[in-house]
Amino acid sequence: MSTFQIDFSSAQKRRIIGIDLGTTNSLAAFMDLTGPEIIPGPDGSRMVPSIVSLDVSGSFVVGEPARRLLIDAPERTVYSVKRLMGRGREDVAEELKLFPFRIAEGSEQVIRLQLGDRTFTPPEISAQILKELKRRAEQYLGEEITQAVITVPAYFNDAQRQATRDAGRIAGLEVLRLVNEPTAASLAYGLDKRKEGIVAVYDLGGGTFDISILRLHEGIFEVLATNGDTHLGGDDIDNRLLAIALEDIASEWGEDLSHNGEAVQTIRQAVIRAKEELSFQPVTVIDLEYRGRRYQRELRRELFENLIRDIVERTLGPCRQAMRDAGLEPEQIDEVVLVGGSTRIPMVRRAVEALFKAKPHTELNPDEVVALGAAVQAAILSGDVQDKLLLDVTPLSLGIETMGGVVSKLIHRNSTIPASATEIFTTSVDGQRNVLIHVVQGERELAKDCRSLARFDLKDIEPMPAGMARIEVRFLIDANGILNVTARDLRSGKEQSIEVKPSYGLTEEQVEAMIRESFEKAEEDLRERQVREARVEADNILAAVEKARLSDAWLELTDEERAAIDAAINELQMVYHSGDHLLIRDRIEKLDAATRRLAENMMNTAVRQALKGTKIE
């Protein structure tokens, strides 16, 4: 672990936390005096499983408590929602065969998931996970948290990044930076101690795979190339084992359970356990019980490795491409860092070692290293860490569709961000008022084979003969990897108005509405909690008074005092169901005041009895 030069001179600044919003687990971390630390939950747990459930009363259950609901209430529980972030319905057709996502009707531009009788977009679900992390951080650090750095897979496209940022905003977090997961991991490792060198970060998570190659130079982490697959990860391994177990059970029990959500979840959890055990021992047993029936099957590491060999091999192509793009040979890689739970699998480690011809670093917990790195990046943003700087790249080329559906590339993949390109557009018809620009992301030649990002409509162009208008459009990818577009009419020098129609994801208006709703909901939740707490307090004091009626102390009160107490009880009972916590608390205080002498009497009685040596009950 490296040491960090930290400047805490301006300690009153608002704290920025780092968040790893993972497919399987999510974590938050902060920069402590000695370095980045994971923020634990009240129970000491370090990870929040990325599982969200909507309970019957309409409130969300997140994390470990929701894991149980995967089995008990699968129709209102969702996991691995990261796979759906920033994606369209047709993108996820493949996923739906393997994941029990319930896509609601009318999910065109944005997928909506059915949870019970309500529907939510993936950013809204992710926002619940972020809220849970925010709560944990506030509780642990004892201050309000409103700013965060959130990590994303390096290979996430623009829509997936925007969806992540939207999730942050819905959760009430200002997302100061989206950092690529492998880059964050390299920050956590503090590899810059070695001053100069080339590092490869191999990140195989629950649902995504990234490879990044960096050059370190006196505290600058310069990404040379990145590649990956946003749909490759531990989930795929689980699905493979799950399919085998389901088939096996079908032949053993004569029952096909593959459409039974509850059974599938039980089996999934059993195969995940077996997979994890195989990282430490050569043989294990898939062992589960479902509705009183027991299924056991021995699984040897050898067979397991045969099952997943092609998945592991699929990660090597992107690694080679990244090395080619960086202009490097494997021998030039000085160090390799492993990130993500799936890199615990011995076969994965062997493959990485063989490819890069270097023994990988595994000192830091691969589940935590990304969150720790996010906390370092947060400290860079706050100015607490000044000797490090991250220079990341855009993973995919950005282009516009031109005549015949051909893509004209404006910003090439692996360009250091922020990066920009400027193009001049004109009209093709006399008096034309609008020009439509279709922006795509990807490496293919034809727009239809690339990822559509958005259509930008240059509006209200001064009517002119064809070809006379000159509109300069500037495409800028910011440090988050998100595209910003501005346009200027070169003739008038005026800013040109643009209407953005995102191809996937939420419009600005939709995000605003969700933030408002979540804010209102938060107020509602808070009010409800305050009322509940006030009622609990009222219950306590009412019970105490009832108990006191039976004591000697009650007899020592005057009639007026007893009448005042009864009146105060009556007053409290009248507002008990009002739903106004301030009113309830006010009546509690009044009852408290009316029973002061009673309490004193009881105390005295207790003291007297204690002095006499008798135990009171």
Binding site: L176, H217, I417, P418, A419, A421, I477, A479
Partner: protein
């Protein structure tokens, strides 16, 4: 070289290029790549020096350094970092660097892709197209010939590149009024280079398609 302007923040006269020399506030960045790096307009650049300038400027300008500054400073930082990165990408590559200078001096490049075959290459291009036709027709006997042609084109590229180096040096040493003439020579060399490198790409594409 850097051109000075008034500081938007403290108002000091002629005090600022990327930063104000008095209040040190970030300024609206220049879009000119050479001016940005504070380099003379030379075609031959020391790549190690360029890299060090890039790292130094990155530390000063990156948006990570401006998270808690004013909106205006954040905007300038984003703008400046994007120009810095774009400029570094272009200037560190000799070909892109030369094309940038040509464009700036009013010599558009890259408009005449593939259209006109350079006369001295006519024969080779004719031969190449024949060989590629045969390859598409399934005749694998042309493979050694294609290989030889590819090598020949690569040699041409290497020759062109060393010629370019000499031209760059000539350009940098020439007085301002003679530079245009050198640039014209550089442009025709670059066009020829582009033509040949397209030929190599075409061969590679066809061979890859053949192997697939």
């Amino acid at each position: 070289m850097a051109h000075l302007h008034d500081c938007w923040h403290c108002g000091a006269k002629d005090a600022a290029s990327l930063f104000c020399r008095y209040c040190n506030t970030i300024q609206a960045p220049t879009p000119d790549y050479y001016e940005f790096f504070d380099l003379p307009r030379c075609l031959a650049l020391d790549s190690e020096d360029l890299k060090n300038r890039f790292y130094t400027l990155s530390r000063l300008l990156h948006p990570d350094r401006y998270t808690r500054r004013s909106e205006q400073e954040r905007r300038f930082s984003l703008e400046a970092s994007s120009i810095l990165n774009d400029a570094y990408r272009v200037l560190r590559d000799p070909i892109q660097r030369a094309e940038y200078v040509l464009r700036q001096e009013g010599f558009p490049v890259g408009d005449q892709r593939n259209k006109d075959v350079p006369p001295e290459l006519l024969e080779e291009v004719f031969e190449l197209n024949m060989a590629l036709d045969e390859l598409r027709g399934g005749d694998l006997e042309v493979l050694p010939q294609l290989d030889a042609m590819r090598r020949r084109f690569q040699e041409m590229l290497a020759e062109i590149d060393s010629g370019l180096q000499a031209l760059f040096a000539r350009h940098d040493a020439a007085p301002a009024e003679e530079r245009k003439e050198v640039l014209a020579a550089i442009r025709s060399t670059l066009n020829r280079r582009r033509y040949i490198s397209n030929l190599i790409q075409e061969v590679d594409r066809q061979l890859a398609a053949r192997n697939a």
